[in-house]
C-alpha cells in the first residue's frame, strides 16, 4: 500500500485505517498517518470510532455447535475408537 509522499488527505486516510491498525504500514507511511492525525480532529474521531467498533464487535457471542451435529460427531468418534 503506497501513499503519495507529501500529503495524506482525510479521504485517503480513512482507506488506510485497517492497514494502520493491523501494523501493515511502512514506517514512513505510519509517520504521515500519525502526523495527519495529530492535526485533524475529524480523522482522530474516525480512528477512535473504528477502534470502538472493533472492540464492540468482539463482544458478540460466538455460535454454538448444534446438538444434532454434536451427537453425530460423538457417534463418529465412538465408531473410530472402536475400530
Amino acid at each position: 500500500m503506497s501513499i503519495g509522499l507529501a500529503h495524506l488527505n482525510c479521504r485517503e486516510l480513512v482507506e488506510l485505517v485497517t492497514a494502520y491498525l493491523e501494523g501493515d504500514l511502512s514506517s514512513g507511511e505510519r509517520k504521515r498517518f500519525d502526523s495527519h492525525l495529530a492535526a485533524c480532529d475529524g480523522c482522530t474521531m474516525y480512528v477512535e470510532q473504528m477502534r470502538r467498533t472493533i472492540e464492540l464487535t468482539g463482544m458478540l457471542s460466538v455460535d454454538d455447535v448444534t446438538p444434532k451435529a454434536e451427537e453425530a460427531l460423538l457417534r463418529a468418534f465412538r465408531d473410530w475408537k472402536g475400530q
Binding site: N9, V17, E22, G42, Q49, G58, D64, A76
Partner: protein
C-alpha cells in the same frame, strides 16, 4: 515434532491419540462453528458444508496418528477442511469457483461516502462524537450483528473470524486461501460498513 507445537496443542494431540472423547468434544465445540463458516465459502449449500465438516472431523481422527506437528493443530484441521471443501465444491459443480472469492466485491467501495468529503479530500462533515450512553446500551450489539449479516459472504466471514472469533490475519489467510492484501481489503470494507451502521444508529433521534 512436539517441540514445534505449543504445549497446549501437544497435549491435545496426545489425548486425541489416546482416543480421549472429552478432548475431541471440546475441540468440536471450539472449532465446529468456524469450520462450518469456512466450508460455506467453498460449497453451494449449508447442507453440503455440514457434510464437509463431518468428513473433515473423520479425516482428523484418521490422520491424528500421523500428524507431524509442522503447523498448529488448528491450522492443520483447517487445511484438511479447505481441501475437503474444495474437492467437494468442484464435484458439486454448482459452487462458485474459488477465485470468485477474491473478486466477488472488488469494485470500488469507499469506507466513507464521498459526499462526506470536500473536493480536496477533507472532511466536509466531521464525524460526530458518539453518545456513550447509547453506545453502551444493549441494542448496539444487535445493530452490529445485523450489519454483519447484511455483508457479502466473504466480508462477513473475514470480519467474523477476525473480530468476533479473534483469529489472526495469518490464520484467516491460510484457511480462506486469501492473499495478505485481499484479507485486509475484505476486513477493511466489512469494518467500515459496521462503523457506518453504528454511526447511523447513533445519530438517530432517541
Amino acid at each position: 515434532m512436539e517441540q514445534l507445537l505449543s504445549a497446549h496443542d501437544a497435549k491435545l494431540v496426545e489425548r486425541l491419540r489416546a482416543r480421549d472423547e472429552d478432548t475431541f468434544m471440546e475441540l468440536i465445540r471450539e472449532l465446529n462453528p468456524s469450520l462450518l463458516r469456512v466450508a460455506r465459502m467453498f460449497v453451494p449449500t449449508a447442507a453440503v458444508a455440514e457434510d464437509v465438516v463431518q468428513e473433515t472431523w473423520l479425516a482428523v481422527l484418521n490422520g491424528i496418528d500421523r500428524f507431524e506437528g509442522r503447523s498448529s493443530l488448528k491450522t492443520w484441521i483447517f487445511r484438511i477442511l479447505t481441501n475437503t471443501a474444495k474437492t467437494r465444491g468442484e464435484r458439486e459443480r454448482r459452487s462458485v469457483p474459488f477465485s470468485a472469492l477474491e473478486t466477488e466485491d472488488s469494485g470500488y467501495e469507499p469506507a466513507v461516502e464521498r459526499s462526506r468529503f470536500t473536493g480536496t479530500g477533507h472532511w466536509a462533515v466531521l464525524p460526530r462524537a458518539w453518545p456513550e450512553d447509547k453506545l453502551l446500551a444493549g441494542e448496539t450489539l444487535s445493530v452490529i450483528e445485523h450489519a454483519i449479516e447484511r455483508l457479502p459472504q466473504t466480508q462477513r466471514t473475514v470480519i467474523t473470524l477476525r473480530d468476533v472469533e479473534g483469529w489472526t490475519a495469518d490464520e484467516v489467510r491460510n484457511a480462506l486461501e486469501l492473499s495478505e492484501t485481499n484479507q485486509r481489503v475484505l476486513l477493511h470494507r466489512a469494518r467500515a460498513k459496521v462503523r457506518n451502521a453504528l454511526e447511523q444508529y447513533l445519530s438517530e433521534e432517541q
